[in-house]
């Protein structure tokens, strides 16, 4: 047994993550406002706001300092740093918008500048776990309020009036008595000399005075550049003298190069060099797989050169990995008792005495991320200094890993974060940046390493493969009295530590042990599963298979008892209450349970909202069906209704999707809607097509022809999104990921309603055509 104890983030988990109070001294060289006052602890206090988050427990915690994040120029331009990575959620706009709101800056005079990777200076920069808004709403407000206060103090001094008589309003400070007014630009130099106010003393704006937050009228800052081709992604970085590289990697995870014959490749016009790339034994976190690089004057020549390489590999121990056989192993494991990870009552006994037992065994294969921008990075290594340009979700982690890989101090590594052409968890792993760093060092020149789509599909850190087996025991009245859920899947921890074969707490907490139903006898178990390839985070992570299983089972119970799906679901959720699962050290997305408990009132609410707005129970045409599912993940609550149509030949279409989300206090409802719309598409891709399979240790798929994703002609005709208005002080919660998990079960419940066929094995593929 190999349990991973660290409940937080696996980054840096090969050593002990030290959560430290960061030295403020190192941040004095700020963006423009410089001064001698050093802020004390960045930890947020109860006085400042009504809830706590897990932000302080992330590596390097949070930094609340206007001098780090905000600069005001004499012409009034306000520059705000975005320290999180933009991969499509809108975070590069949303976080600076919070600062602008609170400091009374006029958004049209704000410039957003991307921060490089430096967590001592900026605090944690991992853009993952649907955490950015929930961890940074209050710190960004505090940063904005600090900057506003400094500007107000400067104006009060200039006018020699008490600070209580002045107020920042829309990019200027006004004096209430005299009506005098000074623009932010006019106050910039003086404000920089003001001391930074203490967090405790800050006065945050009354939400009723918000101009931007919660309104959804501000477009993303990169919108114009994206529509004109000017936006800079990782692949778009060009440096003088830069070489272009592609790499042939071992076809089997952990395989090794035996020999390579470069002659034919070197004859390809434009190819300049063929060289070996260092690889690390598996597992080794995000270290490169190694292989052979072809260096050329352009990417096209490098790809053509690689095609001409003659390579001999030793596949190693994983050469036997076979998805057909492995699936049987998982099924067998799920049919036997496993490590008990939650126990309430006596599920064994209750299942034995139950009037009826419904058994569902649900399979989800490996999934690849296939972000539209395949992994790519540019590196320029000169002596003991390295500069990286890359689309990474984890610039701080990238900096650490580049330093370690090259054996140079972290302070000598600069990581420039470009826009990410999609991330979905793939770009939390910086292997591609490490490859570029190694090659640049060897070449003595800047180099771009471009992954082809085939590289991306074959060498991903895949979503795990799983069997979820649920047994539900019903009494004579149809009430569920027993619930046993066995979840078996290789763990992400296996990418960090050899032999990790049980789910880590953060995986258990994603839809297994946090199951919210009001049932007297519950047993959640986690049998062992070994990994034979690199497993990693994929948007929504373990919530996808767990929600698929749990919410499909709800549909199965409804069918078995002849009851309505929604009523069955609400009956299982039970009374409005705070769920307290009998789980030691329950992992709650890294958040304190007091701020973010499992609240069944909120869970019920999204079900009722989507049912009302989505017209649950409406008459649908012949061959159509409605399905519903709800899931709490990333401390948000999402319910989805899917309408399907299945024709005589088994062809599936999706005429309508309705989704309700309760993500607490929110910043930009327009981007929340876009995330939910996209989640429906990704959910449909997972359900209909998602499958990476292995034979002889090698991935069988290669590109969008055999690893298909949903295209426009098969996308839902309409997706409607409803956002639950937050209560006062409801903490913000995740948006980027939680939309995906409820989709597949809602779809399968709808397919059952339309056809009477229960789909338990993903992907759907041609199962309806049989």
């Amino acid at each position: 047994m190999n349990f991973i104890d660290n409940p937080g983030k696996l980054r840096g988990f090969e050593k002990n993550i030290k959560v430290e109070k960061v030295s403020r001294r190192s941040i004095l060289k700020g963006l423009g406002i410089t001064g001698g006052f050093v802020l004390a602890a960045p930890v947020m206090t109860r006085q400042a706001f009504a809830y706590e988050t897990g932000a302080g427990k992330m590596p390097h915690g949070i930094v609340v300092d206007p001098r780090v994040f905000v600069a005001v120029a004499a012409d009034g331009t306000v520059t705000i740093l975005a320290h999180r990575s933009e991969m499509g959620t809108g975070v590069r706009t949303s976080l600076p918008l919070i600062v602008a709101e609170e400091m009374e800056a006029d958004w049209s005079k704000v410039k957003v500048q991307q921060a490089h990777g430096d967590e001592v200076k900026f605090g944690n920069q991992d853009t993952d776990g649907s955490r950015s808004t929930r961890h940074y709403l209050i710190p960004m407000r505090q940063i904005g309020a600090s900057a506003r206060t400094m500007l107000e103090q400067a104006a009060a001094k200039r006018w020699k009036v008490p600070a209580t008589e002045v107020k920042a309003v829309n990019h200027a400070v006004v004096h209430s008595g005299s009506g005098r007014k000074l623009g932010f630009g006019e106050l910039a130099a003086d404000a920089a000399k003001e001391s930074v106010p203490s967090i405790e003393g800050l006065k945050l704006k009354d939400p009723k005075d918000f101009r931007y937050l919660g309104k959804g009228q501000v477009s993303i800052v990169d919108l114009h550049d994206i529509t004109t081709g000017k936006a800079q992604y990782g692949a778009d970085v060009r440096l003088p003298g830069m070489k272009y590289a592609v790499i042939a990697r071992p076809p089997v995870t952990g395989g090794k190069l035996v020999k390579f014959e470069p002659e034919a490749a070197l004859k390809v016009p434009g190819v300049e060099k063929v060289m070996q790339v260092r690889g690390w034994p598996w597992p080794s976190k995000f270290q490169p797989l190694g292989g052979v690089a072809v260096i050329a004057r352009n990417t096209g020549a490098a790809i053509k050169g690689r095609d001409a390489l003659k390579l001999t590999w030793d596949d190693g121990a994983n050469g036997k990995y076979d998805s057909v056989a492995y699936r049987k192993e998982l099924q067998e494991a799920a049919r036997k008792p496993g490590l008990v990870v939650r126990q309430e009552g006596d599920a064994d006994a209750a299942l034995k005495t139950a009037d009826k037992v419904i058994v569902g065994e649900y399979y989800l294969p490996h999934l690849a991320h296939v972000s539209m921008e395949p992994p790519v990075a540019v590196a320029d290594v000169k002596g003991d200094k390295a500069e990286i340009w890359a689309p990474v979700q984890s610039p701080g982690g990238t900096r650490e890993d580049v330093a370690k890989t090259l054996g140079i101090p972290e302070g000598n590594v600069t990581v420039n974060v470009t826009l990410l052409g999609g991330g979905f968890g793939r770009k939390s792993k910086c292997d591609f940046a490490l490859e570029a760093a190694l090659l640049s060092k060897e070449l003595g020149a800047p180099v771009k390493v471009q992954w082809t789509r085939e590289d991306d599909v074959r060498h991903d850190f895949l979503h795990t493969v799983s069997v979820e087996r649920i047994e539900a025991g019903l009494d004579k009245s149809g009430k569920v009295i027993a619930w046993r859920h066995r979840s078996v899947a290789p763990t992400i921890a296996s990418t960090f530590a050899a032999g990790a074969n049980h789910a880590a707490p953060f995986e258990l907490g994603m839809g297994l042990v946090d199951m919210p139903f009001e049932i007297a006898n519950i047993s959640c178990e986690n049998p062992e599963a070994a990994a034979f390839t690199r497993i990693g985070w994929f948007r929504s992570v373990s919530n996808i298979p767990r929600a698929f299983a749990v919410q499909s089972m709800v549909g199965e119970i409804a069918a078995a008892t002849g009851r309505d799906q929604k009523e069955t679901l609400l009956a299982l959720i039970g009374s409005p209450r705070i769920v307290k699962p009998a789980v030691k050290d329950l992992w709650n997305y890294g958040e304190p349970y007091d701020s973010y408990p499992i609240d069944t009132a909120r869970l019920r609410k999204v079900v009722e909202l989507v049912a009302e707005k989505g017209e649950w129970g409406r008459q649908v045409a012949k061959g159509h069906g409605l399905g519903i599912a709800v899931h709490r993940s990333f401390v948000s609550y999402i319910a989805t209704i899917v309408e399907v149509a299945v024709d005589d030949k088994g062809k599936l279409t999706v005429p309508r999707v309705d989704t309700a989300i309760d993500c607490g206090t929110y910043v930009n409802p327009e981007r929340i809607a876009s995330q939910m719309e996209g989640a429906a598409i990704m959910g449909l891709s997972v359900a209909k097509y998602g499958e990476i399979s292995f034979k002889d240790g090698k991935v069988e798929q290669k590109n969008f022809d055999d690893f298909q994703v949903i295209r426009m002609d098969e996308s839902p005709t309409v997706t409607n999104v409803y956002i639950v208005p937050p209560g006062p002080d409801t903490p913000p919660s995740g948006v980027g990921e939680p939309g995906v998990p409820p989709f597949a079960p809602a779809l399968m419940n709808a397919i059952f309603a339309a056809t009477g066929k229960r789909i338990r094995n993903l992907p759907l593929g041609k199962q309806l055509e049989a």
Binding site: I226, D236, G270, A301, G421, S715
Partner: protein, 150 residues
């Protein structure tokens, strides 16, 4: 020596005539607005307009377009105000944005051929362009908006 006209400017190439147009544009001409997504004409991220037709530049060799006129996202409109681009911004289409140059070029080509496409025609014409973020509903709305006047 192969000569092509890109966004109104003459360019020449004396290297490998089989070089895909995509890599000529991105790596040799520095026009990085056109994106690499799959290399096999499966995703549409590399779509450019050759004469009046949408073409996947990843499987089109530079030799195939010798003497032809190529328009990339950078050359679609001098100020970025082509009706499709304007519609894209009004509808707030993009999430990550990486596929959007290809989507916009495909949509622009569609509207040249069919100024008032129906719901089904839009969905069919745009089906070769993948958006992994899943912006399809907005893409469809934006094409519709561009066709009816922005």
């Amino acid at each position: 020596m192969i000569k092509v006209k890109i966004n109104g400017q003459e360019q020449s190439w004396d290297g490998d005539p089989d070089l895909p147009l995509l890599w000529f544009l991105r790596d040799e001409a520095g026009l990085t607005g056109t994106k690499f997504g799959c290399g096999q004409a499966l995703c549409g991220a590399c779509t450019v307009i050759v004469d009046k037709e949408a073409v996947r530049s990843c499987i089109t060799s530079i030799n195939d377009v010798a003497g032809r006129e190529i328009t990339t996202i950078e050359g679609l409109h001098p100020n970025g105000d082509h009706p499709v681009q304007k519609a894209w911004r009004q509808v707030n289409v993009p999430q990550c944005g990486f596929c959007q140059a290809g989507q916009i070029m495909q949509a622009a080509a569609l509207l040249m051929e069919n100024p008032k496409p129906s719901h089904d025609q839009i969905r069919e014409a745009m089906a070769g362009n993948i958006c992994r973020c899943g912006c399809y509903q907005r893409i469809e709305n934006a094409v519709h908006l561009a066709s009816t006047g922005v």
